[in-house]
Structures are given as C-alpha cells and as structure tokens.
C-alpha cells in the first residue's frame, strides 16, 4: 500500500471514530490495509462482512493463536495442536486437550483454511472459521481448550491484565468501547487463520516456470490428473480438495472405505462422518476430502489419524479401501476406478511431496511471537 493511501484511510477512520466516540483516545482505524499474496488464477477467499481482514487484527490473532493463556487452565494454545513446522497440523493421530483427553479426530492443517467451504472433518453446519472455533474453545466431551462458564472470566481477566492485549484489541477493534471479549478473540484468531496462506510450494513455482520437477514427480503429477489416478475427483481444486470457495460447488463428503464394522458399512462411533449430523445411513463414513497441500508434513492421515505415512495413505486409495472397508456399501464409486501400480504409487508420492511449502513453515509473520528470539 502506498503511503498516501494509507494516510488517507487512516484519516477517514479518525473522522469516523471522532464522530462516534469523542471521549475515547483516537486510534488509527485499521482497515483496508490487508493484501492477499496469491498466484495468478487464485481469487481471494470469502471473508465475513462483519470480520474484514486488517493487519492489526491479524497480528492480534497471531498472538492469541500462540497464547496458552487462552485455554481454561493455561496449558495449551491453538498452536499446540497446529504447529507451524507441521504446516499447522498435529503430528499425532489424536491431539491432547487441556484436560488430558484426546480429541475425537485428527487435527487438520490450517493452510488455506480460508477457502474451505466447511470445517472439521464432517460438519456441514460449520461454514466459517469463526463458527468452527466454538468447538475447540468450548467443547466438553472431550475437552479441548477448556473454556467454560467458570474459566471464561479468568481467561478474559488474564488477557485484560496484559497491556499488549489492551493495546492490541483497541487497535484491532477501534470503534468498540470494550473490545476485549470472546467474540473479538474469535474474530482475531479467524483473521490470523485466513492469513495462513500456502501457494509457494515447489509445485507452485514449477507452475510459474520458476522451478523444475524431477521425472518421477512429473510422472506423479500426470497420474494425479489422470482417470487412472482419479485423485483430481476429490482433490482437484487449486487447494487440492473439492470444497474450495470459488472453485467447487456444494459440500461434497466421501466414504473411502476405511471401515465396515457390521457388513453394512459401519464406521466406529463417534466417527461415522456426516451421519453424526444428518442421521442418514447414506452419510455413513462420509468425510471432507482434506487439502493435500503440505501433505508430506501433515501425517498421520485420515479423520482418526489411523494411517501413519503418506505412502500408506496412497496405498489405501490404490487398493480401493482398507481391509473390510473395501466392501463398504457407501464407498465413493471413484475409489474402485483407481489403477495404480506400486511404481505409480511411488511416483504419486513423489509428486505430492512437491506440495510442501517451506515459505509457509518458515514465514516469520506466521511464527510464534512468544518464542525466544534467536
């Protein structure tokens, strides 16, 4: 942003603010200062009208994301289960909540989450990051962040006692008189999460003509896009999923034949996919296809973390499911069309590893502000 425009925006903000709240100290209104850095062809993600992107909110959200004081007992932060080095995913099958309980499902990577049309593994009611956050913040069974009626005032008091937050909330929400509240905590964290953008992998650079891929990687890319591989069916968007805003329609969920407990397609409770929400048998085992960006960093895989390696995850697909799950009656038909030899599976793995984004995992703007400076 050029300086003249920045000053103009700030001045407009001041005028508006002065008119509304003559008694409060003037804060530069942080708005219109966010810039998406996206490759050609990728449009900015949808952003809720009541939570526009600003640099001040992004910075505040980053601090909150890494702050253990946000959990009820002060033991974990969002980043505990979404570390940057793992492309903001966890490296264990199920994550550890603040009360020592394991989550029900595998923590998903957050890169490009702004473009997701639904959140978590299988929940069509969660269509914004703000909404999704109710789960980890307040969930009871099992507890994740452990904010409840007793701890919420404590969490807010902890943050209120920190001048960095008092300043940060005032700057991020300049029009509000008491901006340090749960609603704005959620808005700020969602803003930070929307800023976790990954389009600078070796694959992206290859697409831009700035990097080479090896012969094996190129063979894998070709297989990825082929009828033989079928991968593009559920991972075909620019975000390598099929729920990317601006590219995909509807909210597809898929059963890939991981389980078949009862011969009728049963998945183990309470991880039965969209059926948990809808109650419809046809939704048994149907989960959201995760983005494959940074997939080499985001293991273990599947909704329950039951697949340890990328190679094994590819094999499960290539073998049309896993164990009894291969005959799951609700399995997505495209699974059975996959034809990949062992060598082709290896080539595919080689390609998928080009989706790792070192810029994302090392970006200081996304890093832990509490970490000791080197």
């Amino acid at each position: 942003m050029n300086l003249a425009r920045a000053l103009a925006v700030a001045a407009m903000g001041l005028i508006g603010l002065t008119a509304c709240q003559p008694d409060s100290p003037a804060q530069p209104a942080a708005r219109g200062d966010w810039r998406w850095r996206l490759p050609p062809g990728v449009r900015p993600p949808p952003v809720p009208a009541d939570n526009p992107m600003t640099q001040a909110k992004f910075e505040l959200g980053r601090r909150l994301f890494y702050d253990k004081r946000l959990s009820g007992n002060g033991s974990i932060s969002c980043a505990s289960c979404h570390p940057q080095a793992k492309a903001f995913s966890d490296s264990v099958p199920l994550s550890l909540g603040s009360a020592g309980e394991r989550t029900l499902r595998n923590a998903q990577p957050l890169a490009n989450a702004a473009w997701h049309q639904s959140y978590t593994w299988a929940n069509n009611t969660l269509t914004t990051l703000e909404r999704q956050m109710d789960g980890p913040l307040f969930r009871t069974d099992p507890v994740e962040m452990g904010i409840n009626d007793l701890t919420q005032p404590k969490v807010l008091a902890r943050l209120q006692a920190d001048p960095v937050y008092v300043r940060g909330f005032a700057q991020a929400f300049p029009a509000e008189s008491g901006p340090l509240n749960m609603a704005n905590i959620v808005k700020a964290i969602a803003t930070f999460e929307r800023g976790i953008v990954s389009f600078d992998s070796r694959y992206d650079r290859y697409q831009a003509g700035k990097a080479q891929l090896s012969a094996a990687e190129l063979r894998g890319l070709k297989l990825f896009r082929s009828e033989q591989g079928q991968c593009f069916r559920c991972h075909g968007s620019a975000n390598f999923d099929d729920q990317m805003a601006g590219e995909s329609g509807g909210l597809p969920f898929h059963n890939i034949g991981l389980y078949n407990l009862d011969g009728k397609g049963g998945y183990p409770f309470p991880n039965r996919g969209m059926l948990e929400l809808s109650g419809a048998q046809a939704d048994m085992g149907r989960f959201r296809s995760p983005s494959l960006r940074n997939v080499a960093l985001t293991g273990p895989y599947m909704h329950d973390g039951s697949v340890e390696t990328l190679e094994e995850a590819i094999r499960v697909h290539a073998e049309h499911g896993r164990g009894a799950g291969k005959s799951n009656p609700w399995k997505d038909a495209s699974l059975d069309r996959i034809r990949l030899s062992r060598q082709e599976q290896a080539d595919l793995a080689a390609f998928l590893k080009t989706l790792s984004d070192d810029t994302l995992t090392h970006d200081p703007a996304l890093s832990d502000p509490f970490a000791a400076k080197p």
Binding site: D134, G135, D149
Partner: protein, 358 residues
C-alpha cells in the same frame, strides 16, 4: 428479587425496549415458510375449548391481568428434586440415581382464554433467565455441578419460574413449547436469531450457558437431564460410564443464509405442551423424571452413544422420544417428519399439573 420483577411490567410501559413484543412463529424459519417445514402453525391455531359454554369454564372469573408467573418444578414421581437428590425407581430397572443436571428451555408460554385463544405471556426482559419469548429453567442450579469432574458452574442459582405479564381476561388453560426457537421478534418487531447463534457471541447470557451449548450441532441443548445411577451405566464392552445423559436438541441442520437465525433443521425436536385447565395462581407445571425415563434402563447402555443425545440411530432414544411425544426419525425416507411432534401437546406424559400447595 420478587419486588423487583413485580415492578418490571410498570417499567416496561415506559421502556419500550423492555418487552419481548408480540412473539410468534419462532419455530419455523421465517420468512420463507415453505412446504419443507411441517411444524404445525401452533400459536395461531386456537385450542378448542375443552368445555361447553355452559360449563363452569364459562364462569371463570376474569383475571385482572398484569404480572403473571408460571411456576415449574422438577420432580421424580412425587418427590421434589434438586441438585444431587437421590432418586428412586427410575426406568425399567427401577434404579436409584442422583440428579446431576436438570435444565430446560421453554418458549412461547401462553395463557389460553375461554375462547380457546393462546395469549402470549410477555416475558419480563429484566429477568436474567429470560430473553424475548425464551426462558431457561435450571432446576439443579449452580451447586449441582461436580467441580472436581467438570471444573464448571453455570449461571448462579436456580430458576423454576417464567415471569411475565398478561392482559386481563378469562383464562382457562396454558401452553408452552420446549426448545429454543430459531428466531424470535424483539420489541421493535425485528427478528433476532436465537438457537443457532455462535457460542462465542450469544445474543443473551441464557444462550451462552456452557452446559447447554451444542457446538457440534451449531445449536443448543433444549433439555438436559443427566442422571448418575448407583453402580454406573454398564456398557457392552464391560466398562461403565458414570452418567446416563438425556440431551434434546435440533439435529440434521444446514446453514440457510436466507433466513434469520441462519439454519434450517431436518429434525427440529421442539414440541408443545398444552393443558386445557390451568390456573396460574394455584397450579404449577411438573416435569417428572420417573415418567421421562420410564421406558429406558439407565443402568446399562448397549449402543455406542451413551444415554440419548437426540441421535436418530440410537435405539435408546426411541422410548424417551415416545414419552415426549416426538417422532425420533422419519416415518419413511423422504417423509421429512423426523423431530416433529406426534400430537397437539394435550397428552403430555412427562409434564403434568399440580396444585402449588401439594
């Protein structure tokens, strides 16, 4: 507290924003009430007078109007219960159990006049347990939590009253609905989203009570009655759980940006309760735990989901939904009648009236 709320109706006359306003039809998504929603158009549907005109009902003395309280109580059979109460003869195994949770949302509380019309109680908006046409009843109260287990407490105190005002009239009956509406009108006539508003920014504190948040369904638990049976709840795998929990709420919900409240649910799981004979000055409404659980064995649970969480695939939900007069699942695929009331609310089995003195 009491002198305070008795002043409220007078206050509200001067403060236009105080009252909930003409509350109506908050069950169904508005304004796009289409064929998909099969909720009976309850508030406008007159309840047929239960007595002929010459009966004593016609001589019902005129009610002067003004401050009106509808009292509720949670009981187990005839035993009044509070947090931690030892209950007996619960369910098919006649179990002994301890009450660990007893909360319920009610809305659209109305007095029925001798013309069979439902006249909404205008809820006192200064009462901390009420918002628009919605009230939270917490029979177990703040002391009922298990601090060591749950590290939690809800709003202070308990509440078993719905407090409001009614115009003068000849009233013979009472109706109310269980659940949180998708939306309701405020005093300015603006539709305000209720059930599906985010837990991190509830429209009112009674919709931000941690124990009633149902974040995975993007809504609220309408009714929560948790029991801890002596000896625990035995599971098929030989383990045991401490509680048999009943959680009622809307399921099969989908976002709908075109309606206020933002969601439309395949199984709303709200229902009406109607009593033809009710006197607010001498009667109260009892929710009977023995009746609620009478078709279930709370000492065991053979399904994956312990207790009943309104899950249509959970066989243990069927008896308890039968008791409530709710259809658990669709009568046939595509019927779209799951989560709908099975009757007009007159034959409530788990709710009954009793004299306040009793």
């Amino acid at each position: 507290m009491k002198p305070y709320w008795m002043l409220a109706p007078a206050l509200c006359l001067s403060l236009a924003g105080c009252l909930g306003g003409g509350v109506k039809s908050s069950e169904d998504p508005t304004p796009n009430q289409n064929a998909q929603t099969q909720q009976p158009a309850a508030p406008s549907q007159p309840a047929a007078p239960s007595q002929p005109a010459s009966s004593p009902a016609a001589q019902q003395p005129a009610y002067p109007g003004g401050a009106t309280t509808v009292h509720f109580a949670l009981k187990s059979g005839n035993q009044p219960v509070a947090c931690g109460s030892k209950l007996t003869s619960i369910g098919t195994s006649l179990a002994n159990a301890q009450l660990t949770e007893g909360m319920i949302y009610v809305h659209d509380v109305a007095l029925i006049n001798d013309q069979g019309q439902e006249v909404p109680l205008q809820l006192d908006q200064k009462n901390q347990w009420q918002f628009l046409n919605l009230a939270l009843l917490d029979f177990a109260g703040g002391s009922c939590k298990q601090p060591n287990v749950d590290d939690n407490q809800p709003l202070d105190g308990s509440n078993s009253d719905v407090v409001g005002s009614a115009p003068a009239g000849r009233y013979t009956g009472l109706s109310f609905k269980v659940g949180v509406p998708i939306s309701a009108k405020n005093a300015q006539g603006k539709e305000i989203g209720l059930n599906h508003q985010p837990a991190h920014s509830p429209p009112h504190p009674i919709l931000g009570v941690y124990w009633l948040m149902w974040e995975w369904q993007s809504g609220h638990r309408f009714m929560r009655v948790d029991l801890a049976p002596d000896g625990g709840v035995k599971r098929q795998d030989g383990k045991s759980d401490p509680k048999w929990a009943f959680h009622l709420g809307s399921t099969d919900c989908k976002p709908d940006r075109d309606i206020v409240g933002g969601y439309r649910c395949g199984k709303p799981n709200r229902f009406k309760v109607l009593f033809d004979r009710f006197n607010p000055q001498s009667d109260r409404v009892v929710l009977d735990i023995q009746s609620l659980f009478s078709g279930n064995d709370i000492t065991r649970d053979d399904s994956a989901d312990f207790g009943c969480k309104s899950n249509v695939t959970d066989a243990e939900c069927q008896p308890i939904f039968d008791r409530l007069g709710l259809r658990l699942n669709e009568s046939q695929p595509g019927a779209n009648d799951g989560g709908q009331p099975l009757n007009d609310g007159r034959n409530a089995r788990v709710f009954r009236l009793e004299k306040i003195a009793s």
